[in-house]
């Protein structure tokens, strides 16, 4: 079997959750796979990550270069190209860096590329059998990925189990980045505007989606939040319509929240939204569509129109006080 690699994403010296998910994914391809972690960056932060990850991977390739201090995909790609053997199987998370980096890398390595994989069924001959989704998650497909010349597979974050066993205890090997010149220069990150409330710190969130139908109906959500002592959050369409500020958006392109209780009201439950909900909270979903995907991930489900249900819930909570 070809050599397995896992690309480690990190921020401020801490490895991303996906780092441990990649191990499980590799095992689904080959249960005896030995995966080498490969991580790029610079300085003390990179060292911290490499050491943290070394507990779970038999070997960690660390590419340290000032040009990699911020993960500029154009530079990272060159550094990986300089080190990855042809025919390798590279696993990585399907995140914004991944979208920037890996399609191009697969061309340079001449390996097969499959993105946003949600499950791996195993190997059939010279191909890996994977599962993806299409049409905004309405249908799934089996995909065959020829690994003869190697392959790059990016995984949907949060879907694969994190392997917390820390049973590998590997060594950290220094690798060279090579030529780090690029025609794209990183300038800076402009932080999203911080709103009046930081929902990433909230314990109880009342989150609203398209089911609210109209901006004027948001009133009922605010009243429920007040009755519960909760903060109001929402899904992307609400922010796109400018009904709430971006600082209230939960999801992969919004904020990541870790509440104890999460009420999803009129939210369909797309993975982009639920990707922002971490920490395994108690999830309650209210939606008039019984087939909404949210009911797959929620703990408790209520098939009702939120415009009818929420005011009643608020009233009952206030009466009980």
């Amino acid at each position: 079997m070809a050599q397995f690699f896992a690309y480690i994403v990190h921020k401020k010296g801490v490895a991303d959750d996906s780092a441990l998910e990649l191990i499980s994914a590799a095992k689904k391809i080959d249960s005896s796979a030995s995966v080498t972690a490969i991580v790029t960056g610079s300085g003390a932060d990179l060292d911290k990550v490499a050491n943290e990850v070394a507990a779970s991977y038999p070997e960690v390739w660390k590419i340290d270069n000032e040009a990699l201090a911020y993960p500029n995909a154009e530079v990272v790609r060159k550094a990986l190209l300089n080190n990855l053997p042809a025919d390798c199987i590279l696993l990585a998370p399907h995140d914004t860096l991944g979208m920037d980096l890996f399609p191009g890398l697969s061309i340079k390595l001449d390996s097969a590329f499959v993105s946003d994989v949600v499950d791996i069924e195993g190997v059939e001959g010279a191909a890996i059998k994977l599962i993806r989704q299409e049409f905004s998650g309405q249908v799934s497909t089996h995909v065959s990925c020829d690994m003869t010349n190697g392959s790059i597979i990016t995984l949907r974050p949060g879907v694969f189990q994190a392997d917390e066993s820390k049973s590998a205890g590997g060594s950290v090997v220094d690798k060279d980045a090579g030529d780090v010149s690029a025609k794209r220069k990183y300038l800076e990150v402009v932080a999203a505007e911080v709103g009046d409330v930081d929902i990433t710190k909230s314990d109880i969130l009342v989150s609203v989606g398209r089911g609210i139908e109209d901006q004027d109906n948001l009133e009922i959500i605010h009243e429920l939040a007040e009755a519960m002592g909760a903060d109001v959050a929402c899904s992307r369409p609400i922010v796109d319509a400018k009904w709430l500020e971006k600082s209230r958006q939960v999801g992969t392109s919004g904020l990541t929240v870790k509440p104890k209780v999460y009420l999803a009201l009129g939210i369909s439950g797309s993975f982009q939204h639920m990707g922002g909900v971490k920490g395994n909270p108690f999830i309650v979903a209210v939606n008039k569509n019984p087939k909404a995907p949210i009911f797959q991930v929620a703990d408790v489900g209520i098939e009702e129109d939120i415009l009818e249900f929420v005011p009643e819930l608020t009233e009952a909570i206030n009466e009980a006080k």
Binding site: A73, M99, S144, L187, I204
Partner: protein, 263 residues
């Protein structure tokens, strides 16, 4: 500035209920309506706005069948100057790299300063832009939500990254960018506009026009193949509360209290 925008004709998923057909090999397409991929439409609007600012022309290109022409015409009605259809039976079954290879051949037939694609399409792969850039050896940036054409040789682009933050980059031209929704407000294209471009010439290129053999494109060359479509068995999922609305409200409050959901 000469701009090329790669567009794709996709089923409209908003109200369409996508279902797997009886064979399991494809989705039910009988009742579907098609339109241009939403991300690609934002890209075309951005290209037109750039052209309005600095001059030049906008060309839209698609890899598809005869019906894909309608999408090219719509974008031309919007304001693109030229359309190119890349069509050949030999292209069928191409994987991402195959499609990117076809597009690369079309790019090389012209001379472009900027190539745009949508960040992703109906299959959510988000790969064509990056592959095309690598094949052409051009710099690339994905999920672009702002473009500043202040310099003749460089662009200042913003990328949408996690947490709602924006990563600012400077990228040299020629380059490839994949465009995120929300970068602008696309203009409306009415039936009248489309009728106006109904008889404009749209050249069609096939495999031989582009010099592409079956080793590079089509099913034979594909390393990634879609085997089927299916709807997964639903797992257990949530515990659905039963009873009248009042009863559900009462039960919910009980559960919320137990989990610390009511302060």
């Amino acid at each position: 500035m000469e701009i090329l925008v790669c567009v794709k004709r996709v089923p409209d998923t908003s109200e369409n209920e996508i279902e797997v057909d009886s064979d399991g090999k494809d989705i039910e397409r009988d009742d579907l309506v098609y339109s241009v991929n939403e991300w690609d439409n934002y890209a075309v609007e951005e290209a037109i706005q750039i052209k309005d600012k600095v001059g030049g022309s906008v060309t839209v290109v698609t890899v598809g069948d005869q019906e894909s022409e309608e999408v090219l015409r719509r974008e031309m009605a919007m304001g693109a100057d030229n359309g190119i259809l890349l069509e050949d039976d030999a292209f069928e079954g191409s994987d991402g790299k195959g499609v990117a290879t076809i597009l690369k051949a079309a790019v090389e037939k012209g001379k472009y300063d900027l190539i745009l694609t949508g960040a992703q399409a109906d299959d959510g792969a988000a790969q064509i832009g990056g592959m095309l850039a690598a094949l052409l050896d051009l710099p690339y940036a994905s999920l672009v939500n702002s473009i500043d054409v202040s310099d003749e040789k460089k662009l200042k682009v913003g990328r949408e990254i996690e947490g709602g933050n924006q990563e600012m980059n400077e990228i040299e031209m020629p380059c490839v960018l994949s465009i995120q929704t929300g970068i602008n407000e696309p203009r409306y294209v009415g039936i009248r506009g489309i009728r106006k471009v109904a008889s404009v010439e749209i050249p069609t290129y096939g495999a031989s026009d582009l010099g592409l053999g079956s080793d590079a494109v089509g099913e034979g060359a594909a390393k990634v193949k879609r085997l089927d479509y299916f709807v997964p068995e639903l797992g257990e999922g949530a515990e659905m509360l039963e009873g009248s609305t009042e009863e559900k409200v009462a039960k919910l409050i009980e559960l919320l209290k137990a989990k610390g959901g009511i302060k």
